[in-house]
């Protein structure tokens, strides 16, 4: 069977099983229409056949895992350890309940962003009370003389995010926030728990914030960087596929696409530099994944670009943030 046929067939199965029917043949063909030659199209098809997609069901399972494996179990372990490895189930339950009641879960970003959007499902899947969730503005209370914590009985703040690519957003968002909390009461713990993170992104958050605990359900190491020398995507590529050719192809189109995105906020010479930096995904992330609710900008832009400036048809479109009005 010709490679093209094989790839279409593989994508059909992905589409039926994990992609939630998001990319049928016409939409794939429309996306391939972005590329000019048959060689380009074949390479693009190969790339698409490796796209990792996490649908609604998988996201919900990951949210369960986040609560269970990154929050509940570590705290249960801690309770046991602090109490001579007790096996008293009733005691552990009551202690954990108390711990949880002194915890507040928050989303990362403003209420319209994905981190906060996920909180609703996080609460549903883990059957948690509404009172355990607050907005960041509810952390503090301010009177004329000083800022203090709105509820001093809260000992743990858990920030939840869907994805951390380079860590820059998490750092920008939480750096001063956590510093402020710690400045008021250094014994309060703050955690940053994510569904997905790149190894570098996680490291950036650890290094640049005062979070006590930074962890994720899925960690994407350098093998998930599409064109990395250790890339998992080119372990044994078909003979028709040329990695360097594909990289140049992605860079060429990616540059043009990111140039158009940055042109809304930047001017030359920064504009070209930014496009150069991001042509393979934000800050050179080179990822190839998408979620039910959105595709991160760390993914190769040829997959998701859906702006008006360049005539480009996305296959897993990204609902881009519009900063300002």
């Amino acid at each position: 069977m010709a490679l093209e046929d094989e790839l279409y067939k593989k994508i059909k199965i992905l589409n039926e099983t994990t992609w939630e029917h998001r990319a049928n043949r016409p939409s794939i063909d429309k996306w391939l229409g972005n590329f000019s030659t048959s060689k380009d199209k074949l390479h693009a098809l190969f790339l698409l056949s490796q796209f990792m997609y996490f649908g609604s069901m998988q996201m919900r399972e990951l949210l369960k895992s986040l609560y269970r494996d990154l929050y509940k179990y570590p705290n249960v372990q801690k309770i046991r350890k602090d109490n001579s490895d007790t096996l008293d189930e009733a005691f552990i339950k009551s202690e954990f309940r108390a711990w949880q009641n002194n915890t507040r879960f928050l989303g990362v970003g403003n209420p319209s962003e994905s981190g906060t959007h996920l909180l609703y499902f996080f609460r549903q899947e883990n059957k948690l009370g509404k009172n355990l969730f607050i907005n960041t503005h509810e952390i503090f209370t301010a009177n004329s003389r000083r800022t203090s914590l709105a509820d001093p009985t809260i000992r743990n703040y858990v920030f939840i995010d869907d994805f951390c690519g380079t860590g820059s957003q998490a750092v920008d968002y939480s750096q001063s926030l956590i510093e402020d909390i710690k400045a008021i009461d250094p014994t309060i713990t703050a955690s940053y728990l994510m569904l997905f993170t790149t190894t570098n992104g996680q490291q950036a958050v650890i290094s640049n914030t005062l979070f006590d605990d930074v962890r994720s359900v899925v960690e994407l190491d350098s093998s998930f960087k599409y064109f990395d020398p250790h890339s998992r995507y080119f372990k044994s590529p078909p003979s028709e596929i040329d990695k360097d050719y594909l990289q140049l192809l992605c860079e060429k189109h990616g540059w043009e696409l990111y140039y158009s995105i940055h042109s809304a906020t930047d001017t030359e010479p920064e504009l070209s530099l930014m496009a150069d930096r991001d042509k393979l995904g934000f800050n050179g992330s080179q990822l190839l994944l998408g979620f039910h609710h959105n595709t991160p900008d760390n993914t190769l832009p040829i997959i998701w670009y859906d702006e008006n400036t360049v005539d480009w048809w996305p296959v897993f479109k990204r609902y881009n943030k519009i900063y300002g009005l």
């Binding site: 067939k9 059909k12 589409n15 039926e16 939630e20 029917h21 998001r22 049928n24 043949r25 016409p26 939409s27």
Partner: protein
Amino acid sequence: MTYAKNPFNVTKAVDYSDAEIDKFWVDMPTGNGFYDIVKPTVNMPQIILGGKGSGKTHIMRYFSSSLQKIRHSNSLIASIEHNQYVGIFLRCGGLNSAKFSGNDQPVEAWKNIFGYYFELWLAQLVVSMFLDMVKESGAKEFSEKRIIDELHQQFDKEVKDKFATIEELASYLRKLQREIDFEVNNCAISGKQISDLRILVSPGRLIFGLPRILSLHYPGISEIKFLYLLDEYENLQEYQQQYINTLIREREDPVSFRIGGRWYGIKTYKTFSGDEELKEGSEYEKTVIDQVLRDRKDIYEKFAKSILLKRLEQNDSIGILLGNDDEKFNGFLETFSLSGLFAKIKNKDRLKSQPYLKLLATSLQGKLDPIEIKEILHNLEYPKDPLIERTNVFLFYREWSSGNIGLVNASRKILAEAKVHNVDPWLKSNMHRIVLDKFKQDIIDQLQREYREPLSYAGIDKIIKMSAGIPRLFLIMLKHIYRWSIYNGEIPYKDGPIPEATQLRGIEDAIKWFLDDARIPGKVGSPVATIIDRIGQLLHEVRFSDAPPECSLCAFSINSTDISPPTQQLLDYLEQYSYLIKVTNRREKNSSVYRITYQVNGLIAPRWELPIYRRGVLHLSSKEVTAIFDPRSEDAFIKIKAERKSRYNAPFKVASTTLSLFE
């Protein structure tokens, strides 16, 4: 994103609930349909056999009491009064029959224990059905005490203190069965002898006695038939089948049996009456369900189309139906059109056009003068109709292989005949008409192949034909076609016919499924796969040769004397797993030797680009049979294949080894 649910997703009756069995039931569109096969009120036991997916389980379950009840507004009593029978359905697979053997226990003990266990199981099903009926009837009066008194008598031991009501009988039977389960499941661990178990009922005392007593003492059921529907007979061991065969032989009123199983699943017809076999015609009747459906082409076509419509209707997947049957179904699934093929050919690159003429020119090079070759090619050209042009080439190869006239003259003759055919395509003596009568599909397929277009297996009629009388194969094809159609962004069955290309992708997946599903387990699986592939390859080579000896070649025949025991074993497997379908078993003229013809199953025919409609048969020589059916020797097969190729391809060399007079 929302997407339509595939109406063909479920293809196995065991996966259906009772309500779904009823919902998706489609009767055979002749006489009283499947009623005429099952004959539920007739005393004579029936053995209903069929290939995997032929619909046996669906049929057996349809005649069971739970389905009878559904068909009569949830009233078992109304259904019994109306039908005059009650079906007691048992899936033999559920008996876990394999546990009744081995573990260093005496064979005789296993026989007795299995018989007893089977008796208890069926009795429970009857009691459960009866309790259902009593519950429904409410205040209907009957003497439970008389029933219980007589049932006590059916046991070989005093059991008066064990049950006093039908409800208690149900519990008692369940308890006895659980005791057996416990002892049998643990005998390998406990080291206890199975023969220590005590049997409280002689064979048949409950199976026949219970229905007899109930019908005697419960009003309104004295005339009804208690029909034991035993499905998946192939799951029983030989001695277990022998036990049930004995019950069939010794059947007592008001009971009868319907046995369902794979047609190779009957391991024995022997009974325990001196090892005598059951006699077909006097002790049982046999129906091979897929054979019935295959033999009645028209009936099967209607049946399959009804299945398709039913699935679409139940799933709200159907658009507005207009026109007669042909228009309606062709509106669902695009069919092949010659004009469509011509249009594709017309769009081909000039360098890729008329590939058969280019091949012919190569074959003639060095054999004739270039001027002669040029004239031949010119004479055979007929650009306005690629089918006639390809027929010209076909006829030319035939003339060449016969060696009767010079090749230039042959081409002139063909040119003249083509002109006649153009004017009067129906002239019976015209050589184009004669050859197209038989070889039209082969020539079209050659044309498609040479132009690198996929052969067409699309359209409702072809899909039905390919399913070879096995409804599951039909549904599997429809299921995969639907999946491809959705993937391709179409709205199947609602918005225009599903294109040929989509159908072909679905059929490819169905073939893959079939080859996985029908993979023969164990050591024999690999050689069988080799043999079917060789058969396919050989038929393919001959079919697509320059001058094929037979038209529509998807069948071969073997002389019965050439069938050694190992070959017979391989043929049996190929037939049992539906790779091959036995077509005829005819005696040769003036001979006591039989020639057996097999056809490659239509569903897998596309794998080797074979036709699905059979006309010609490739007669295999002794040497060919030996070469094909010896999986260890690839060389011998390559040799016989090469011999066939050189025989039917230009320059038509005579095979190096000539066939003997009797081959």
